[in-house]
Point group: C2
């Protein structure tokens, strides 16, 4: 069987994760990396793969089965996914939850017309968490959903701290509060405030001579980001930050606590503990890239999400093999 | 929209669970319960639903959209599923893992010919656990799977104890060993012996004058069931057994511990904590009954498993609604 030929658009942490994930799947091969940077500055690790200008993609329509779009959700993907869906099957990790419906519609319009398959919003949230929310809700119609995130780095919150005067560098961890998790697991269906669910832990490098009290106050009172949480601020050196906080761990919990029959409590829990958020997201993208190509070969077209795709399409194993070994 | 019309075959704990689950889903209605017992002995709880002899089912071909088969996997389902698949869309909970491939083939042959959809092996293991094993394996190709069961009642082990001389009644709980779970969660990919994964806890009612030491020895040395485990035997009275051990809790854990990139550890965990095993299994059956009817309306036929079905088919919500609220 010929391998799934993959293109990567964008070579940041996620794109690098996709490249690494391809190496773990021997039914896949990386054809090219498309970038806005000068291609010769791309130091990739796949012999035979090309580094190319993003505008060159159009010349690779017949050489790539699926393009994995590794740009950001704020500005890259809303432009890139519809643009690439005109020419390629695509998979992306669009994660702006509130705008997913309009993003889906804009991609679906293009992909339906071009006859390509575009699987959107793949990763773990949205993605595997969405799958678990959906199944749990269908199985336990009477119940309450809880999602906790962390322990993990929030880029948005880290960036917000970095914008404060006197801050040289910063990283912020979102930490689920164990006591709240336990209440949920006990089936008591608690109503939890924002403050009761997550703690925010910040590691801040202050500029020389900066007022640390002022920085702390600016962080802990920042509306939208920190004001509604208990926030811990730790000042450390740039060296410490680099040595101890350069990884991108993340994870979280999706729990549905429901009831069946007279009063039987039923609890469904899904959780992730990830050393590397981008590498894991990339691994999910790759599994859905496989599904994307299969759907396309079957003649499907248009935008798809995790809800639309039979799970067997994610696996290189045959139906008979899956039934024998995993059912 | 007209409701999904459901028939139940077999009115034991699982059949009663299905009846209760139908009440939680207002797009469904129970038409009839088909039983081998005299129908007038069936005291069901659904006004308007009929209790009927199993042989009468043939007369309800046009009144039932999907038949939920609630018999056992040892002898009932291998006969009943192919038999009913000639006339009805079906959903069953066939759970004899090693025989699933041949069961699938025998059902597929009939359902493909009759033009019906038969979804087999639905519940939580096989079922939701299978889904999670499959997704986790596709996302993390380099990794190790672990499945733990419990804390929950094993009917097979309880029955085995009841067959020992001098035993009046008994119940056996399978208990996952927390220390083993923690080792797995820490990503150390341990090799775990049978004894290290699960503990067996037995509550036994001895007949008057029975030799308790002999019973304990017979249990703890029983090959295939207890000899490979650490087993705890507690003697209690029949009243205590009825008062404290008449529920059917169960649950378990599916964990995949994998690696991406250079050495990033990634952990995916799915777990269930169930007050009532049959009610929960029934709730999963009902969600797949909805999918079964949708597939049938689309013209599908043949045997299907959890791997073949897009997840959105489990939910009464529209695609747009799912994307907006759960993605």
């Amino acid at each position: 069987m010929s391998k799934v030929k993959i293109g990567i658009v964008g070579y940041g942490n996620l794109g690098k994760g996709v490249e690494a994930a391809i190496k773990q799947n021997n039914d896949m091969e990386l054809v090219g990396i498309f970038t806005r940077r000068p291609p010769d500055t791309i130091k990739h690790k796949t012999p035979g793969a090309k580094a190319l200008m993003i505008n060159d993609a159009v010349n690779y329509k017949n050489e790539i089965d699926v393009m994995i779009l590794c740009g950001g959700s704020a500005t890259d993907l809303p432009e890139q996914t519809p643009q690439f869906a005109e020419m390629f099957n695509t998979v992306d990790s669009y994660d702006n939850h509130s705008k997913i419906p309009e993003f889906f519609d804009s991609v679906d319009k293009v992909a339906s017309k071009s006859g390509k398959v575009s699987i959107i919003s793949i990763g773990w949230d949205p993605g595997l968490f969405s799958i678990n929310r959906m199944i749990a809700g269908a199985v336990l119609p009477e119940g309450v959903d809880y999602t906790f995130w962390g322990k993990g780095v929030s880029q948005g919150h880290s960036d917000a701290i970095r914008r404060i005067e006197g801050v040289q560098n910063a990283i912020q961890y979102t930490v689920p509060i164990e006591e709240a998790l336990e209440k949920v697991r006990n089936g008591s269906n608690p109503t939890l405030s924002t403050r009761e669910k997550h703690l925010r832990v910040c590691f801040v490098v202050a500029k020389e001579g900066a007022n640390k009290d002022a920085i702390t106050k600016a962080i802990t009172t920042m509306p939208g980001y920190f004001a509604d949480y208990d926030t811990e601020v730790n000042f450390i050196s740039e060296e410490e930050l680099k040595a101890n906080h350069s990884k991108m761990p993340h994870g979280g919990f999706v729990i549905r606590s429901g009831k069946t029959g007279q009063a039987s409590k039923q609890l469904i829990e899904f959780s992730l503990k990830l050393d590397s958020n981008p590498e894991f997201t990339a691994s999910v993208l790759i599994a859905y890239a496989r599904a994307c190509v299969r759907l396309s070969k079957e003649g499907a077209s248009g935008a798809k999400t995790v809800f639309d795709i039979p799970l067997s399409y994610l696996s290189p194993k045959s139906g008979a093999d899956l039934r024998k070994k995993l059912l």
